[in-house]
Protein backbone atom coordinates (compact mmCIF):
# COMPACT_ATOMS: atom_id res chain seq x y z
CA UNK A 1 0.00 0.00 0.00
CA UNK A 2 1.14 3.59 -0.62
CA UNK A 3 0.52 4.45 2.99
CA UNK A 4 2.70 1.64 4.24
CA UNK A 5 5.51 2.62 1.91
CA UNK A 6 5.15 6.21 3.10
CA UNK A 7 5.32 5.21 6.75
CA UNK A 8 8.37 3.09 6.16
CA UNK A 9 10.10 5.94 4.35
CA UNK A 10 9.43 8.40 7.12
CA UNK A 11 10.18 6.20 10.13
CA UNK A 12 13.61 4.61 10.58
CA UNK A 13 13.85 0.91 11.38
CA UNK A 14 16.83 -1.19 12.27
CA UNK A 15 17.56 -4.47 14.02
CA UNK A 16 19.61 -4.93 17.17
CA UNK A 17 20.09 -7.86 19.52
CA UNK A 18 17.21 -6.72 21.71
CA UNK A 19 14.69 -6.50 18.90
CA UNK A 20 13.50 -4.35 16.03
CA UNK A 21 13.96 -0.64 16.63
CA UNK A 22 11.70 2.01 15.13
CA UNK A 23 12.32 5.75 15.37
CA UNK A 24 9.20 7.83 14.84
CA UNK A 25 10.51 11.12 16.19
CA UNK A 26 9.50 14.14 14.16
CA UNK A 27 6.48 12.52 12.56
CA UNK A 28 3.13 14.30 12.92
CA UNK A 29 0.14 12.41 14.36
CA UNK A 30 -1.07 9.87 13.50
CA UNK A 31 1.98 8.72 11.53
CA UNK A 32 3.94 7.45 14.56
CA UNK A 33 1.03 5.26 15.56
CA UNK A 34 0.49 4.03 12.01
CA UNK A 35 4.19 3.20 11.65
CA UNK A 36 4.39 1.40 15.01
CA UNK A 37 1.21 -0.62 14.48
CA UNK A 38 2.21 -1.47 10.93
CA UNK A 39 5.48 -2.89 12.23
CA UNK A 40 3.90 -4.70 15.17
CA UNK A 41 1.20 -6.24 12.97
CA UNK A 42 3.88 -7.59 10.62
CA UNK A 43 5.69 -9.53 13.37
CA UNK A 44 4.65 -13.15 13.59
CA UNK A 45 6.77 -14.33 16.52
CA UNK A 46 7.90 -13.02 19.92
CA UNK A 47 10.42 -10.49 18.60
CA UNK A 48 10.16 -7.35 20.73
CA UNK A 49 10.01 -3.84 19.32
CA UNK A 50 11.84 -0.85 20.74
CA UNK A 51 10.17 2.47 19.94
CA UNK A 52 12.04 5.75 19.94
CA UNK A 53 9.51 8.55 20.34
CA UNK A 54 9.64 12.21 21.22
CA UNK A 55 6.56 12.02 23.46
CA UNK A 56 4.63 9.37 25.29
CA UNK A 57 2.24 7.84 22.72
CA UNK A 58 -0.71 8.10 24.99
CA UNK A 59 -3.39 6.72 22.71
CA UNK A 60 -1.25 3.87 21.40
CA UNK A 61 -1.63 1.71 24.50
CA UNK A 62 -5.26 0.65 24.10
CA UNK A 63 -4.48 -0.18 20.46
CA UNK A 64 -1.60 -2.38 21.54
CA UNK A 65 -3.76 -4.07 24.15
CA UNK A 66 -6.37 -4.70 21.49
CA UNK A 67 -3.89 -6.66 19.37
CA UNK A 68 -2.33 -8.46 22.35
CA UNK A 69 0.83 -6.43 22.95
CA UNK A 70 2.13 -4.75 26.09
CA UNK A 71 4.42 -1.81 26.66
CA UNK A 72 7.14 -0.92 29.13
CA UNK A 73 9.03 2.30 29.53
CA UNK A 74 12.81 2.07 29.11
CA UNK A 75 15.57 4.42 30.16
CA UNK A 76 16.18 7.00 27.49
CA UNK A 77 18.17 10.18 26.94
CA UNK A 78 16.47 13.47 27.82
CA UNK A 79 13.83 14.43 25.28
CA UNK A 80 13.20 10.86 24.17
CA UNK A 81 10.55 8.40 25.23
CA UNK A 82 11.70 4.82 24.66
CA UNK A 83 9.28 1.92 24.86
CA UNK A 84 9.72 -1.83 24.80
CA UNK A 85 6.76 -3.49 23.09
CA UNK A 86 6.28 -7.21 23.56
CA UNK A 87 3.63 -9.68 22.55
CA UNK A 88 1.60 -10.64 25.62
CA UNK A 89 2.07 -14.18 26.80
Amino acid sequence: MDRDRGSELRSRRWVEADGIHIDVRGLPPPQPMVSILTLVESIRDATPVVVHHERDPLFLYPELAEIGWTSERLDAPAGEVRLLLTRAA
Binding site: P28, M33, L74
Partner: protein, 477 residues
Protein backbone atom coordinates in the same frame (compact mmCIF):
# COMPACT_ATOMS: atom_id res chain seq x y z
CA UNK B 1 18.80 -12.21 13.84
CA UNK B 2 15.26 -11.34 14.52
CA UNK B 3 12.22 -13.31 13.87
CA UNK B 4 10.29 -10.52 12.28
CA UNK B 5 8.30 -11.67 9.32
CA UNK B 6 9.03 -9.83 6.12
CA UNK B 7 5.65 -10.37 4.50
CA UNK B 8 3.51 -7.29 3.86
CA UNK B 9 1.30 -5.91 6.56
CA UNK B 10 -2.13 -7.51 6.54
CA UNK B 11 -4.65 -5.52 4.53
CA UNK B 12 -7.25 -5.85 7.19
CA UNK B 13 -5.93 -5.18 10.63
CA UNK B 14 -7.89 -5.96 13.73
CA UNK B 15 -10.73 -3.54 13.78
CA UNK B 16 -12.25 -3.65 17.16
CA UNK B 17 -11.00 -0.42 18.58
CA UNK B 18 -10.80 3.31 18.10
CA UNK B 19 -7.54 4.20 16.41
CA UNK B 20 -6.72 7.33 18.19
CA UNK B 21 -4.45 10.26 18.20
CA UNK B 22 -0.87 9.46 18.89
CA UNK B 23 0.41 12.04 21.27
CA UNK B 24 1.92 12.47 24.62
CA UNK B 25 2.82 15.04 27.12
CA UNK B 26 5.63 17.44 26.99
CA UNK B 27 4.16 19.66 29.58
CA UNK B 28 3.96 17.70 32.77
CA UNK B 29 7.09 16.71 34.62
CA UNK B 30 7.37 12.93 34.83
CA UNK B 31 6.72 11.48 38.24
CA UNK B 32 9.67 10.02 40.11
CA UNK B 33 10.67 6.72 38.61
CA UNK B 34 12.37 3.78 40.20
CA UNK B 35 14.77 1.71 38.19
CA UNK B 36 14.25 -2.03 37.96
CA UNK B 37 15.69 -4.59 35.60
CA UNK B 38 13.86 -6.31 32.82
CA UNK B 39 14.51 -10.00 32.00
CA UNK B 40 17.36 -8.94 29.72
CA UNK B 41 19.05 -7.07 32.54
CA UNK B 42 18.32 -3.58 31.24
CA UNK B 43 17.10 -0.80 33.44
CA UNK B 44 13.40 -0.16 33.17
CA UNK B 45 11.68 2.79 34.74
CA UNK B 46 8.39 2.09 36.39
CA UNK B 47 6.17 4.60 38.10
CA UNK B 48 2.67 4.57 39.47
CA UNK B 49 0.71 4.84 36.24
CA UNK B 50 3.83 4.28 34.21
CA UNK B 51 1.81 2.79 31.45
CA UNK B 52 0.79 6.30 30.57
CA UNK B 53 4.16 7.61 31.55
CA UNK B 54 4.15 11.39 31.89
CA UNK B 55 1.33 11.77 29.44
CA UNK B 56 -1.46 12.51 31.86
CA UNK B 57 -0.96 16.28 31.58
CA UNK B 58 -2.88 16.28 28.33
CA UNK B 59 -5.60 14.10 29.75
CA UNK B 60 -8.48 15.50 31.70
CA UNK B 61 -9.60 13.36 34.64
CA UNK B 62 -11.98 10.69 33.36
CA UNK B 63 -14.85 12.23 35.29
CA UNK B 64 -14.82 15.36 33.10
CA UNK B 65 -15.26 14.00 29.55
CA UNK B 66 -17.40 11.17 30.86
CA UNK B 67 -19.84 13.49 32.62
CA UNK B 68 -20.34 15.30 29.29
CA UNK B 69 -20.82 12.04 27.41
CA UNK B 70 -23.11 10.66 30.11
CA UNK B 71 -25.24 13.79 30.13
CA UNK B 72 -25.46 13.57 26.34
CA UNK B 73 -26.71 9.98 26.61
CA UNK B 74 -29.35 11.02 29.16
CA UNK B 75 -30.47 14.05 27.11
CA UNK B 76 -30.68 11.74 24.09
CA UNK B 77 -33.34 9.70 25.91
CA UNK B 78 -35.08 12.89 27.05
CA UNK B 79 -35.15 14.20 23.47
CA UNK B 80 -37.12 11.19 22.25
CA UNK B 81 -39.52 11.46 25.21
CA UNK B 82 -40.09 15.14 24.41
CA UNK B 83 -40.63 14.36 20.73
CA UNK B 84 -43.22 11.75 21.68
CA UNK B 85 -45.00 14.41 23.75
CA UNK B 86 -45.00 16.73 20.74
CA UNK B 87 -45.58 14.06 18.09
CA UNK B 88 -49.05 15.33 17.10
CA UNK B 89 -47.64 18.46 15.51
CA UNK B 90 -44.23 17.14 14.60
CA UNK B 91 -44.83 16.17 10.94
CA UNK B 92 -45.65 19.77 10.02
CA UNK B 93 -43.63 21.55 12.69
CA UNK B 94 -42.59 25.04 11.58
CA UNK B 95 -41.42 26.59 14.86
CA UNK B 96 -42.83 27.93 18.11
CA UNK B 97 -42.68 26.83 21.75
CA UNK B 98 -43.75 23.30 22.69
CA UNK B 99 -42.32 19.83 23.15
CA UNK B 100 -41.17 19.53 19.53
CA UNK B 101 -38.96 22.58 19.99
CA UNK B 102 -37.83 21.18 23.34
CA UNK B 103 -36.92 17.90 21.67
CA UNK B 104 -34.99 19.69 18.94
CA UNK B 105 -32.93 21.57 21.52
CA UNK B 106 -32.42 18.54 23.71
CA UNK B 107 -30.70 17.06 20.67
CA UNK B 108 -28.78 20.14 19.52
CA UNK B 109 -27.78 21.46 22.95
CA UNK B 110 -28.12 18.36 25.13
CA UNK B 111 -26.56 15.75 22.87
CA UNK B 112 -24.61 17.41 20.07
CA UNK B 113 -23.12 20.43 21.80
CA UNK B 114 -22.66 18.55 25.09
CA UNK B 115 -20.62 15.87 23.32
CA UNK B 116 -18.75 18.45 21.24
CA UNK B 117 -17.65 20.26 24.38
CA UNK B 118 -16.52 17.08 26.13
CA UNK B 119 -14.74 15.71 23.07
CA UNK B 120 -13.03 18.95 22.07
CA UNK B 121 -11.87 19.70 25.62
CA UNK B 122 -10.24 16.25 25.70
CA UNK B 123 -9.05 15.85 22.13
CA UNK B 124 -7.81 19.30 21.17
CA UNK B 125 -5.10 19.61 23.84
CA UNK B 126 -3.71 16.30 22.62
CA UNK B 127 -4.10 17.18 18.94
CA UNK B 128 -2.51 20.59 19.32
CA UNK B 129 0.21 19.25 21.67
CA UNK B 130 -0.69 21.43 24.61
CA UNK B 131 -1.26 20.80 28.27
CA UNK B 132 -4.69 20.98 29.83
CA UNK B 133 -4.50 24.44 31.37
CA UNK B 134 -7.38 24.14 33.80
CA UNK B 135 -9.50 21.33 35.15
CA UNK B 136 -11.90 23.60 37.04
CA UNK B 137 -13.21 25.55 34.06
CA UNK B 138 -14.50 22.45 32.18
CA UNK B 139 -16.24 21.37 35.40
CA UNK B 140 -17.77 24.82 35.83
CA UNK B 141 -18.93 24.83 32.22
CA UNK B 142 -20.68 21.51 32.81
CA UNK B 143 -22.48 22.62 35.95
CA UNK B 144 -23.73 25.73 34.22
CA UNK B 145 -24.51 24.09 30.93
CA UNK B 146 -26.30 20.86 31.89
CA UNK B 147 -28.87 22.50 34.22
CA UNK B 148 -29.22 25.29 31.65
CA UNK B 149 -30.13 22.83 28.91
CA UNK B 150 -32.62 21.06 31.18
CA UNK B 151 -34.23 24.37 32.21
CA UNK B 152 -34.39 25.72 28.67
CA UNK B 153 -35.90 22.48 27.34
CA UNK B 154 -38.55 22.29 30.03
CA UNK B 155 -39.19 26.02 29.55
CA UNK B 156 -39.78 25.43 25.83
CA UNK B 157 -41.95 22.39 26.43
CA UNK B 158 -44.34 23.65 29.12
CA UNK B 159 -43.95 26.51 27.98
CA UNK B 160 -42.50 28.70 30.72
CA UNK B 161 -40.75 31.85 29.56
CA UNK B 162 -38.93 32.53 32.89
CA UNK B 163 -37.57 28.98 32.90
CA UNK B 164 -36.55 29.29 29.24
CA UNK B 165 -34.84 32.64 29.89
CA UNK B 166 -33.00 31.26 32.94
CA UNK B 167 -31.85 28.24 30.97
CA UNK B 168 -30.78 30.39 28.02
CA UNK B 169 -28.69 32.60 30.30
CA UNK B 170 -26.96 29.63 31.94
CA UNK B 171 -26.25 28.13 28.53
CA UNK B 172 -24.91 31.43 27.21
CA UNK B 173 -22.53 31.87 30.16
CA UNK B 174 -21.35 28.26 29.90
CA UNK B 175 -20.76 28.51 26.15
CA UNK B 176 -18.95 31.82 26.57
CA UNK B 177 -16.52 30.19 29.03
CA UNK B 178 -16.15 27.24 26.68
CA UNK B 179 -15.44 29.65 23.82
CA UNK B 180 -12.64 31.21 25.86
CA UNK B 181 -11.14 27.78 26.61
CA UNK B 182 -11.38 26.85 22.94
CA UNK B 183 -9.81 30.12 21.79
CA UNK B 184 -6.90 29.74 24.24
CA UNK B 185 -6.24 26.29 22.89
CA UNK B 186 -6.44 27.43 19.27
CA UNK B 187 -4.08 30.37 19.84
CA UNK B 188 -1.44 27.96 21.14
CA UNK B 189 -2.00 25.30 18.50
CA UNK B 190 0.87 23.90 16.47
CA UNK B 191 0.39 22.26 13.09
CA UNK B 192 -2.84 20.86 11.64
CA UNK B 193 -3.84 24.10 9.85
CA UNK B 194 -6.98 22.61 8.29
CA UNK B 195 -8.27 21.36 11.64
CA UNK B 196 -7.51 24.67 13.31
CA UNK B 197 -9.16 26.66 10.50
CA UNK B 198 -12.34 24.59 10.78
CA UNK B 199 -12.47 24.98 14.55
CA UNK B 200 -11.94 28.74 14.26
CA UNK B 201 -14.88 28.94 11.84
CA UNK B 202 -16.92 26.90 14.33
CA UNK B 203 -15.85 29.34 17.04
CA UNK B 204 -17.06 32.37 15.05
CA UNK B 205 -20.29 30.54 14.27
CA UNK B 206 -20.76 29.86 17.97
CA UNK B 207 -20.49 33.58 18.71
CA UNK B 208 -23.14 34.34 16.08
CA UNK B 209 -25.36 31.54 17.38
CA UNK B 210 -25.14 32.87 20.93
CA UNK B 211 -26.32 36.33 19.85
CA UNK B 212 -29.10 34.93 17.66
CA UNK B 213 -30.25 32.37 20.25
CA UNK B 214 -30.36 34.86 23.11
CA UNK B 215 -32.27 37.24 20.86
CA UNK B 216 -34.82 34.52 20.06
CA UNK B 217 -35.14 33.38 23.68
CA UNK B 218 -35.59 36.86 25.11
CA UNK B 219 -38.02 37.85 22.37
CA UNK B 220 -40.51 35.67 24.27
CA UNK B 221 -39.88 37.84 27.35
CA UNK B 222 -40.40 41.05 25.37
CA UNK B 223 -36.75 41.85 24.73
CA UNK B 224 -35.31 42.19 21.23
CA UNK B 225 -31.78 42.42 19.94
CA UNK B 226 -32.33 41.24 16.40
CA UNK B 227 -35.60 40.99 14.45
CA UNK B 228 -36.98 37.47 14.93
CA UNK B 229 -36.77 36.62 11.21
CA UNK B 230 -33.12 37.69 11.08
CA UNK B 231 -32.23 35.85 14.29
CA UNK B 232 -33.93 32.68 13.07
CA UNK B 233 -32.28 32.89 9.65
CA UNK B 234 -28.89 33.14 11.37
CA UNK B 235 -29.57 30.66 14.17
CA UNK B 236 -30.39 27.54 12.16
CA UNK B 237 -27.52 27.51 9.61
CA UNK B 238 -24.87 28.88 11.96
CA UNK B 239 -25.77 26.46 14.76
CA UNK B 240 -26.12 23.31 12.67
CA UNK B 241 -23.72 23.80 9.74
CA UNK B 242 -21.58 26.48 11.37
CA UNK B 243 -20.78 25.53 14.94
CA UNK B 244 -21.62 21.84 15.06
CA UNK B 245 -20.97 21.11 11.40
CA UNK B 246 -17.57 22.77 11.13
CA UNK B 247 -16.49 21.25 14.44
CA UNK B 248 -17.51 17.82 13.15
CA UNK B 249 -15.76 18.33 9.81
CA UNK B 250 -12.61 19.72 11.46
CA UNK B 251 -12.28 17.02 14.11
CA UNK B 252 -12.92 14.40 11.42
CA UNK B 253 -9.57 15.34 9.87
CA UNK B 254 -7.98 14.04 13.07
CA UNK B 255 -10.35 11.24 14.02
CA UNK B 256 -11.05 9.47 10.74
CA UNK B 257 -7.38 8.91 9.76
CA UNK B 258 -6.79 7.66 13.28
CA UNK B 259 -9.76 5.34 13.16
CA UNK B 260 -8.62 4.00 9.80
CA UNK B 261 -4.87 4.17 10.56
CA UNK B 262 -4.17 6.15 7.43
CA UNK B 263 -2.11 9.19 6.48
CA UNK B 264 -3.60 12.62 7.22
CA UNK B 265 -5.80 13.99 4.40
CA UNK B 266 -4.42 16.55 1.97
CA UNK B 267 -4.26 19.87 3.84
CA UNK B 268 -4.75 22.06 0.78
CA UNK B 269 -7.98 20.37 -0.27
CA UNK B 270 -9.25 20.54 3.31
CA UNK B 271 -8.48 24.26 3.43
CA UNK B 272 -10.27 24.82 0.09
CA UNK B 273 -13.28 23.00 1.53
CA UNK B 274 -13.12 25.26 4.60
CA UNK B 275 -12.89 28.40 2.45
CA UNK B 276 -15.90 27.34 0.40
CA UNK B 277 -17.85 26.72 3.59
CA UNK B 278 -16.88 30.22 4.78
CA UNK B 279 -18.17 31.75 1.57
CA UNK B 280 -21.42 29.83 2.05
CA UNK B 281 -21.76 31.23 5.58
CA UNK B 282 -21.11 34.76 4.34
CA UNK B 283 -23.86 34.36 1.74
CA UNK B 284 -26.26 32.93 4.33
CA UNK B 285 -25.53 35.83 6.69
CA UNK B 286 -26.18 38.41 3.99
CA UNK B 287 -29.41 36.67 3.01
CA UNK B 288 -30.52 36.68 6.66
CA UNK B 289 -30.50 40.49 6.52
CA UNK B 290 -32.72 40.47 3.45
CA UNK B 291 -30.08 40.91 0.74
CA UNK B 292 -30.86 38.94 -2.45
CA UNK B 293 -32.36 36.21 -0.29
CA UNK B 294 -33.07 33.43 -2.78
CA UNK B 295 -29.98 33.85 -5.04
CA UNK B 296 -27.64 34.08 -2.05
CA UNK B 297 -29.17 31.06 -0.33
CA UNK B 298 -28.92 29.02 -3.52
CA UNK B 299 -25.32 30.18 -3.96
CA UNK B 300 -24.59 29.24 -0.34
CA UNK B 301 -26.01 25.77 -0.85
CA UNK B 302 -23.91 25.40 -4.01
CA UNK B 303 -20.71 26.46 -2.27
CA UNK B 304 -21.59 24.32 0.76
CA UNK B 305 -22.26 21.38 -1.53
CA UNK B 306 -18.82 21.63 -3.13
CA UNK B 307 -17.22 22.02 0.32
CA UNK B 308 -19.00 18.89 1.52
CA UNK B 309 -18.05 16.99 -1.64
CA UNK B 310 -14.36 17.83 -1.13
CA UNK B 311 -14.56 16.85 2.54
CA UNK B 312 -16.25 13.54 1.82
CA UNK B 313 -13.76 12.76 -0.94
CA UNK B 314 -10.94 13.21 1.56
CA UNK B 315 -12.71 11.12 4.17
CA UNK B 316 -13.50 8.27 1.77
CA UNK B 317 -9.91 8.31 0.46
CA UNK B 318 -8.66 8.15 4.03
CA UNK B 319 -10.87 5.15 4.73
CA UNK B 320 -9.91 3.45 1.47
CA UNK B 321 -6.15 3.83 2.06
CA UNK B 322 -6.23 3.02 5.77
CA UNK B 323 -4.62 -0.02 7.34
CA UNK B 324 -7.88 -0.77 9.07
CA UNK B 325 -10.57 -1.41 6.47
CA UNK B 326 -13.39 -2.79 8.58
CA UNK B 327 -14.36 -0.10 11.04
CA UNK B 328 -17.40 -1.92 12.31
CA UNK B 329 -20.99 -0.82 12.97
CA UNK B 330 -20.02 2.60 14.27
CA UNK B 331 -18.75 3.62 10.88
CA UNK B 332 -21.91 2.45 9.20
CA UNK B 333 -23.59 5.20 11.23
CA UNK B 334 -20.84 7.65 10.28
CA UNK B 335 -21.29 6.86 6.58
CA UNK B 336 -25.06 7.21 6.92
CA UNK B 337 -24.47 10.58 8.61
CA UNK B 338 -22.35 11.71 5.65
CA UNK B 339 -25.10 10.68 3.22
CA UNK B 340 -27.64 12.59 5.30
CA UNK B 341 -25.37 15.67 5.22
CA UNK B 342 -25.58 15.67 1.43
CA UNK B 343 -29.33 14.99 1.59
CA UNK B 344 -29.81 17.90 4.00
CA UNK B 345 -28.28 20.27 1.46
CA UNK B 346 -30.72 18.99 -1.18
CA UNK B 347 -33.58 19.57 1.26
CA UNK B 348 -32.18 23.04 2.04
CA UNK B 349 -32.39 23.81 -1.67
CA UNK B 350 -36.03 22.72 -1.58
CA UNK B 351 -36.68 25.12 1.31
CA UNK B 352 -34.77 27.97 -0.37
CA UNK B 353 -36.73 27.55 -3.61
CA UNK B 354 -39.99 27.23 -1.66
CA UNK B 355 -40.85 23.83 -3.12
CA UNK B 356 -44.63 23.29 -2.82
CA UNK B 357 -44.51 20.59 -0.13
CA UNK B 358 -45.80 21.41 3.35
CA UNK B 359 -43.30 19.21 5.17
CA UNK B 360 -40.17 20.48 3.38
CA UNK B 361 -38.84 22.56 6.29
CA UNK B 362 -39.51 19.75 8.78
CA UNK B 363 -37.88 17.18 6.51
CA UNK B 364 -34.87 19.48 6.18
CA UNK B 365 -34.66 19.69 9.97
CA UNK B 366 -34.88 15.91 10.35
CA UNK B 367 -32.18 15.27 7.74
CA UNK B 368 -29.90 17.95 9.14
CA UNK B 369 -30.19 17.39 12.90
CA UNK B 370 -31.11 13.74 13.35
CA UNK B 371 -29.90 12.42 9.99
CA UNK B 372 -26.52 14.10 9.70
CA UNK B 373 -25.35 15.45 13.04
CA UNK B 374 -26.92 13.00 15.50
CA UNK B 375 -26.18 9.90 13.42
CA UNK B 376 -22.59 10.95 12.78
CA UNK B 377 -21.97 11.91 16.39
CA UNK B 378 -23.41 8.69 17.85
CA UNK B 379 -21.21 6.70 15.49
CA UNK B 380 -18.12 8.60 16.61
CA UNK B 381 -19.13 8.52 20.27
CA UNK B 382 -19.40 4.75 20.36
CA UNK B 383 -15.73 4.58 19.35
CA UNK B 384 -14.45 7.36 21.58
CA UNK B 385 -16.16 6.24 24.79
CA UNK B 386 -14.63 2.72 25.06
CA UNK B 387 -11.27 4.03 23.92
CA UNK B 388 -11.07 6.77 26.53
CA UNK B 389 -12.38 4.31 29.10
CA UNK B 390 -9.59 1.89 28.22
CA UNK B 391 -7.04 4.66 28.50
CA UNK B 392 -8.25 5.82 31.87
CA UNK B 393 -8.65 2.28 33.21
CA UNK B 394 -5.07 1.52 32.23
CA UNK B 395 -3.52 3.91 34.72
CA UNK B 396 -1.24 2.00 37.03
CA UNK B 397 -1.68 -1.18 35.05
CA UNK B 398 0.74 -2.97 32.79
CA UNK B 399 -1.95 -3.94 30.34
CA UNK B 400 -5.19 -1.98 29.98
CA UNK B 401 -8.58 -3.52 29.28
CA UNK B 402 -9.19 -3.42 25.55
CA UNK B 403 -11.77 -1.00 24.13
CA UNK B 404 -13.58 -3.92 22.51
CA UNK B 405 -13.88 -5.76 25.82
CA UNK B 406 -15.28 -2.63 27.46
CA UNK B 407 -17.82 -2.14 24.67
CA UNK B 408 -18.81 -5.79 24.22
CA UNK B 409 -22.53 -6.51 24.20
CA UNK B 410 -25.63 -6.12 22.08
CA UNK B 411 -26.70 -2.64 23.17
CA UNK B 412 -25.05 -0.87 20.23
CA UNK B 413 -26.64 -3.21 17.70
CA UNK B 414 -30.06 -2.51 19.21
CA UNK B 415 -29.33 1.19 19.13
CA UNK B 416 -28.19 1.19 15.49
CA UNK B 417 -31.23 -0.71 14.26
CA UNK B 418 -33.62 1.49 16.24
CA UNK B 419 -31.91 4.75 15.28
CA UNK B 420 -31.99 4.05 11.55
CA UNK B 421 -35.56 2.69 11.74
CA UNK B 422 -36.72 5.74 13.69
CA UNK B 423 -35.24 8.08 11.09
CA UNK B 424 -36.99 6.20 8.29
CA UNK B 425 -40.36 6.13 10.07
CA UNK B 426 -40.12 9.82 11.00
CA UNK B 427 -39.29 10.73 7.39
CA UNK B 428 -42.36 8.76 6.31
CA UNK B 429 -44.44 10.56 8.96
CA UNK B 430 -43.37 13.91 7.53
CA UNK B 431 -43.99 12.92 3.92
CA UNK B 432 -47.42 11.46 4.76
CA UNK B 433 -48.22 14.07 7.44
CA UNK B 434 -49.12 11.25 9.82
CA UNK B 435 -48.95 11.80 13.60
CA UNK B 436 -49.32 8.08 14.36
CA UNK B 437 -46.25 7.28 12.34
CA UNK B 438 -44.47 10.08 14.19
CA UNK B 439 -45.42 8.47 17.52
CA UNK B 440 -44.25 5.05 16.36
CA UNK B 441 -41.00 6.55 15.08
CA UNK B 442 -40.31 8.32 18.37
CA UNK B 443 -40.98 5.16 20.37
CA UNK B 444 -38.51 3.25 18.23
CA UNK B 445 -36.00 6.05 18.67
CA UNK B 446 -36.61 6.00 22.42
CA UNK B 447 -35.79 2.29 22.61
CA UNK B 448 -32.58 2.98 20.68
CA UNK B 449 -31.61 5.84 22.97
CA UNK B 450 -32.14 3.66 26.07
CA UNK B 451 -29.91 1.02 24.47
CA UNK B 452 -27.24 3.66 23.87
CA UNK B 453 -27.50 4.79 27.49
CA UNK B 454 -27.16 1.15 28.59
CA UNK B 455 -24.01 0.88 26.47
CA UNK B 456 -22.56 3.97 28.12
CA UNK B 457 -23.36 2.77 31.65
CA UNK B 458 -21.85 -0.62 30.87
CA UNK B 459 -18.61 0.91 29.60
CA UNK B 460 -18.29 3.15 32.67
CA UNK B 461 -18.99 0.27 35.06
CA UNK B 462 -16.37 -1.88 33.35
CA UNK B 463 -13.90 1.01 33.38
CA UNK B 464 -14.43 1.57 37.10
CA UNK B 465 -14.23 -2.17 37.75
CA UNK B 466 -10.96 -2.44 35.83
CA UNK B 467 -9.57 0.55 37.70
CA UNK B 468 -10.53 -0.91 41.09
CA UNK B 469 -9.04 -4.25 40.10
CA UNK B 470 -5.80 -2.53 39.11
CA UNK B 471 -5.60 -0.68 42.42
CA UNK B 472 -6.29 -3.84 44.39
CA UNK B 473 -3.58 -5.70 42.49
CA UNK B 474 -1.11 -2.87 42.97
CA UNK B 475 -1.86 -2.73 46.71
CA UNK B 476 -1.33 -6.47 47.09
CA UNK B 477 2.12 -6.40 45.43
Amino acid sequence: MTGAAREPVPEKAKAASFAPLDAGDASEAPRPAKAVQDPRGRKVKTTPGAFLGGAVGRLLPASIPFRYFGAAAVFHVAAWVALFAGADGAPRYRGGLGWTLASLHLVTLGVLTMTAIGASLQLLPVATRQAVRTRHAPTLVFWLYAPGVAAAAVGMGLPSVPLLATGALLIAVALAIYAVLLARNLFGARGMPAVIAHVWVAWIALAIVLVAALSLAFAYAGGTALPRAVALALHVPFAAYGFMGMLALGLSYILVPMFALSQPPDERTALVSCALACSAFAAVAAAAFGIAVVPLRVAAIGAGGVAVALHLRLMLASLAKGMRRDLGPSFRLVRLGWAMLAASLAAALGVALDVPFGGMATLFGLLLIAGWLLTFLLGILQRIVPFLASMHASRGKHRPPTPSSLAAGSALSVHAVCHVSALAVLAAAIVLDNAWLARIGTLIGLVGSVAFLAFFVQVVRRMLGAGAEGRTRAASV
